[in-house]
């Protein structure tokens, strides 16, 4: 199993979510995060004083998937989240050792 961690632009959440449910992904977790990559922060000015805001708001989506789905999920997320501008984000694939559905106790790919 794999854990897909995707950092995307907040405005792209709906598009990514719709695309993933379209390919049969049944659940995901969303967290509000801040970060930076090549996209720098911005500057705010209050009463003439400049404030450098280094971090940019992003969303992090975590999905547990079966090994066989990795290629398809990567492509789906990328197509939905892409804007061709800096700051589109990144996707990380982590090895997922075990998973369990709390209600039933199922483990392994059945739990995803």
């Amino acid at each position: 199993m794999k854990m897909v961690m995707a950092i995307i632009k907040p405005a792209k959440l709906d598009a990514v979510r719709d695309a993933l449910t379209g390919i049969g992904v049944q659940g995901l977790t969303v967290t509000e995060v801040r970060g930076f990559g090549r996209q720098g922060g911005h500057t705010e000015i209050y009463r003439g004083a400049e404030y450098k805001i280094d971090f940019v708001p992003k969303l992090r989506i975590d999905i547990g998937i079966d090994d066989s789905q990795v290629e398809q999920v990567l492509e789906t997320i990328r197509d939905a989240a892409k804007t061709d501008r800096i700051g589109d984000g990144k996707i990380f694939i982590l090895d997922l050792g075990e998973a369990m559905r709390i209600r039933t106790g199922e483990t392994g790919p059945d739990a995803l």
Binding site: E44, I45, Y46, R47, G48, A49, Y51, I53
Partner: protein
């Protein structure tokens, strides 16, 4: 029995006469005027509203989220403390008759409002109403100083300082300007508190900020206002409440109040546009925090002049206030590097002082004002106003310096680094502003 009937008959005739010819009531200086009393009652509520919640929200939005409650707490507690001290001693010192010493201070005859019940009048409004109206000024003035020391001051220091400051700075200056003291005798014109409120608060704030030291990270690593929206809501309340502040200072429901309201509003609007324009040109983006700061600058500047100038005066005073206060913010923070965190001196101090001086110009009949003291000329009045400014500023600086030093010795001034980093809401008040 017959004498009683005759007595009653005479009383009845006299009463009837007095009803139709009020000039006949020579025994009493004035009668209570219901219209004026109603307006001052209303103005009192408006000015209290300026502090709670107007100023509290205005300041709250400008600090970091972890300190939002501490600023509101300081404003609220200052309101309560100032109210009680006003009753206990400060009203008497400010407005009592000091006898031989009346040039410099009032008396202790009216502590706890002794002798002031339902009967006495000040002018043609009940003294209780005058007492309350003036109290709301005594409340907001030390509350303004909160802007100098947020995010790092000890709460106990705020209380100790405020109590002492009201008695030693506010009451004397109020007495000099409004209570029949020497500045009033000289002909200083301060309609609603350019000197008494804004100059004292602004100057004292600067001294406090200087002695307290800056927030950690000042001037390079600063934290932006956490809620500019909250600040705007507070600012809007200040604008509305200021109608009570300035128009109420006419102490009458009349044309003077009406014009005071008009020029107050014009000045606020003009100064707001000035600030907005400056930011637009300088930074390409006019900000909400900027435009409401311009508003406060315009209101502070018009305050001493509000009952003396006409609409043209209101416009130019707003223009001047917007420009001068904008420059002052830059000067204090970036040139002098004093962390008067919420720009109390730059906006209230500079505004109040500038407005006080501009009274000499725009109150004159040449600019459609009401005319100057003793029918004098602009230059004479300017000197008089300048004396008022210098006296107020000098007294504020010296006495505030002493009070802050004493407060530091008694309870300490600053929280420690960890408490400041955690945020005063949690470290000083055990509360969290936002449980999201």
């Amino acid at each position: 029995m017959a004498e009683k009937s005759i007595g009653r008959g005479i009383a009845a005739i006299l009463s009837a006469l007095l009803l139709f010819w009020p000039e006949l009531s020579l025994a009493q200086d004035a009668e209570m005027n219901g219209a004026n009393t109603a307006w001052i009652l209303t103005s009192t509520a408006l000015v209290l509203f300026m502090t709670l919640p107007g100023l509290a929200l205005f300041y709250a939005g400008l600090v970091q989220a972890k300190n939002v409650l501490s600023v509101m707490m300081q404003c609220f507690a200052i309101c309560c403390l100032a109210s009680v001290i006003w009753l206990m001693v400060a009203y008497s010192l400010a407005f009592g008759d000091g006898g031989g010493a009346n040039q410099v201070i009032g008396s202790l005859h009216k502590v706890f409002l002794a002798g002031v019940g339902w009967e006495p009048l000040v002018g043609d409004i009940p003294e209780s109403v005058f007492f309350m109206f003036q109290m709301t000024f005594a409340i907001i003035t030390p509350a303004l100083i909160v802007g100098a020391y947020p995010e790092r001051v000890k709460f106990s220091a705020v209380l100790v300082f405020t109590g002492a400051w009201l008695i030693l700075v506010y009451a004397p200056v109020a007495h000099w300007v409004w209570g029949g003291g020497w500045l009033a005798g000289m002909g200083v014109m301060d309609f609603a508190g350019g000197l008494v409120v804004h100059a004292t608060a602004g100057t004292s704030a600067l001294v406090f900020a200087f002695l307290l030291g800056p927030r950690s990270g000042f001037p390079r690593q600063l934290n932006p206002p956490h809620s500019p929206g909250l600040t705007m809501i507070g600012a809007a309340m200040l604008w509305v409440g200021w109608f009570g502040f300035n128009a109420g200072s006419a102490l009458a429901a009349d044309a003077s109040a009406g014009m005071a309201m008009a020029v107050t509003h014009i000045s606020a609007a003009t100064a707001s546009l000035v600030w907005m324009a400056i930011e637009w040109v300088k930074f390409g983006k006019p900000s909400l925090v900027g435009i409401v700061t311009g508003m406060v600058a315009g209101l502070a500047t018009i305050t001493p002049a509000s009952g003396f100038v006409g609409p043209i005066g209101g416009f130019f005073i707003g223009l001047a206030g917007g420009l001068a206060c904008y420059r002052a913010v830059e000067m204090i923070k970036h040139r002098l590097k004093i962390d008067d965190s919420l720009d109390v001196f730059a906006v209230h101090g500079v505004g109040g002082i500038l407005g006080t001086l501009l009274v000499a110009v725009f109150a004159s009949s040449a600019f459609e004002g009401v005319g100057l003291s003793d029918g004098g000329g602009i230059f004479e009045q300017f000197w008089v106003q300048l004396v008022g400014v210098v006296a107020t500023v000098a007294w504020s600086v010296v006495v505030t310096f002493v009070i802050v030093k004493a407060t530091g010795a008694i309870v300490g001034l600053r929280v420690d680094e960890d408490e400041a980093a955690q945020g005063l809401d949690l470290s000083a008040h055990g509360e969290s502003g936002y449980s999201l």
